[in-house]
């Protein structure tokens, strides 16, 4: 059974993991080295096509696309990490609490949660940005906060299943109190679900950050960001589609990577959860 379990989702995990690794490596490498200064404006090399000096060419200010892409990956990973971190840090305890609380309280928490879940992340971000001003921080918080409910929901469902298990009954008979049950049994057993949810949330965060920056509510210039690269490509979309395709492919690859990783991990982990009931 474990042999089959580890095969399932193997390809998805591999491809997704590779794409994610590529984005992360790009971001890390950008701290040490980029082909050019990503913010260096040079009118002499405006809108150049790919060449040995500029692998993916330059934009209308003469800035190197590869360098922007690499530093932009930094923004993507950074926003994703913080947003998913906020979501997990709030959503996981909330989900466990809602599962362990008396029934009425758990239901109440989940109804409130559903209300939040129905609220679009982008709208929240735009509202926050309107109040606090645009910026990477606002984008991270907005994306993080709006992702909390999905974590809480998944974790509550998983926790309820764990709490119904015989091993929790045995733990209570052994003298474990609710806190001990939560820490020693519920959390370790929903960790897999949390990892899956985190990679899916990461994909959503990448997309949301790009969208926010595209709309002008995210990362402000001159910090490179994939969303802003897309936005700046707009006016030249028909004359030089390369400017849109490069960051577009990057966003798509990152989103696909995190989604594949999440789905693959879910396929791997689910049979075990099922078998445990």
């Amino acid at each position: 059974m474990s042999g089959r379990g580890s095969r399932r989702g193997g390809a998805a995990v591999l491809v997704g993991g590779a794409l994610v690794a590529l984005v992360v490596l790009m971001a890390l490498l950008s701290f040490l080295w980029t082909p050019h200064d990503p913010t260096l404006v040079d009118a002499r090399v405006r809108l150049q096509g790919p060449s040995p000096a500029y692998w993916l060419g330059t934009d209308r200010f003469g800035r190197d696309l590869v360098s922007q892409l690499m530093v932009g990956a930094r923004t993507t990973v950074y926003v994703g990490l913080v947003a998913v971190g906020i979501a997990a840090l709030v959503g996981v305890p909330l989900g466990v609490l809602a599962a362990m609380a008396p029934r009425w309280l758990g239901e109440l928490l989940m109804r409130a949660n559903d209300l939040l879940l129905a609220f679009p992340a982008l709208l929240l971000a735009v509202m926050l940005a309107a109040v606090l001003g645009a910026g990477t921080g606002v984008a991270m918080v907005a994306i993080g906060v709006s992702t909390v409910p999905s974590f809480a929901r998944v974790v509550r469902a998983g926790s309820l299943q764990v709490l119904r298990s015989d091993f929790v009954l045995a733990a209570r008979a052994a003298g474990r109190r609710p806190w001990g049950v939560a820490v020693r049994h519920v959390l370790p057993n929903v960790a897999g679900l949390v990892i899956v949810q985190a990679s899916v949330a990461f994909a959503i965060a990448v997309l949301a950050e790009a969208a926010l920056s595209f709309l002008g509510f995210g990362t402000p210039p001159p910090t490179p960001s994939w969303g802003r690269m897309l936005q700046e490509s707009q006016s030249l979309l028909f004359t030089d589609p390369r400017l849109a395709v490069v960051p577009g492919v990057a966003v798509a690859a990152a989103v696909l990577g995190f989604n594949l990783l999440g789905d693959g991990l879910r396929d791997r982990l689910d049979p075990r959860l099922e078998a445990r009931r």
Partner: protein, 267 residues
């Protein structure tokens, strides 16, 4: 000092099912309909009955993992039903549980050593490592088993782990819910013999649930027969086996696999 190990008085347990229509009443399942029994100290008591008769429900209530709708349960002369967990320390120390299916009663994310140590950790009892090694040896598992995970063991071995966990805090009372019915037929006898040995060696009080009257007759002095949430017959094992009074008991006896009885029936 003469009060029984376990005393169950007129216990009723009703489960509410979610209502099926908006206006209709919430359907109620009566899992226990007024059960009374007493298990003396050091006694081995068997509870038999078919699936769904309420055996597990009764065990959960005796272990204060569930609360009866009405009735009273005392363990070692002290009330356990409706008592807050923080005042059940004596129960957690003195009564331990072995559940039916060791695939679900051992946390797959915990090392065996941590599983067995769980009652010791939860009750802050000293000398964990020593004790874990001791009880693992008692159930016939090597000390290295502590480092591994439950899924690395066979069903029979996992039930030994479950028994080791129950023994770890040196309980006086062992409650076992069909401890071998989820196991391969080939290892059932081994695990039952182990259980019998341990109960005798440590002078434990045993409350054993089984749907197999032959097993209970082998291991227990007193037997109660349960049907539909009620005890239909209670008595010494041999008497129940030789002269069953209730028709349901008679059916159980007749369907029990027993070599001598099978031979008797031959012409």
């Amino acid at each position: 000092m003469n009060e029984p190990a376990i005393s169950v008085q007129d216990v009723v347990r009703e489960y509410r099912r979610p209502r099926t229509s908006l206006t209709g009443p919430t359907p109620v399942v009566r899992a226990l309909r007024g059960v009374s029994l007493e298990v003396g100290r050091g006694e081995r008591f068997g509870l038999v009955g078919e699936s769904g008769s309420g055996k597990s429900t009764l065990l959960r209530i005796v272990a204060a993992l569930d609360t009866p709708t009405s009735g009273r349960v005392q363990v070692l002369g002290r009330d356990v039903s409706g008592v807050p967990e923080r005042r059940l320390g004596f129960l957690r120390r003195s009564l331990q549980l072995v559940l039916q299916d060791p695939r679900s009663s051992l946390d797959p994310r915990m090392r065996v050593g941590d599983v067995v140590a769980e009652p010791l950790v939860a009750q802050k009892l000293p000398g964990r490592r020593e004790r874990v090694r001791e009880v693992l040896a008692e159930v016939g598992l090597p000390a290295e088993a502590a480092e591994r995970y439950p899924h690395q063991f066979s069903g029979g071995q996992r039930q030994r782990i479950s028994i080791a966990r129950a023994l770890a805090p040196r309980p006086q009372i062992l409650v076992a819910d069909e401890p071998v019915s989820a196991l391969d037929v080939s290892v059932r006898a081994q695990v039952l013999n182990l259980l019998t040995d341990l109960v005798q060696r440590h002078g434990l009080t045993l409350l054993l649930v089984s749907h197999d009257l032959a097993v209970v007759r082998h291991m227990c002095q007193q037997v109660a027969v349960m049907q539909d949430g009620q005890l239909v017959e209670t008595g010494p094992a041999e008497q129940l086996w030789e002269r069953p009074q209730h028709p349901y008991t008679r059916r159980l006896v007749e369907s029990a696999p027993d070599l001598r009885r099978a031979l008797d029936r031959l012409p």
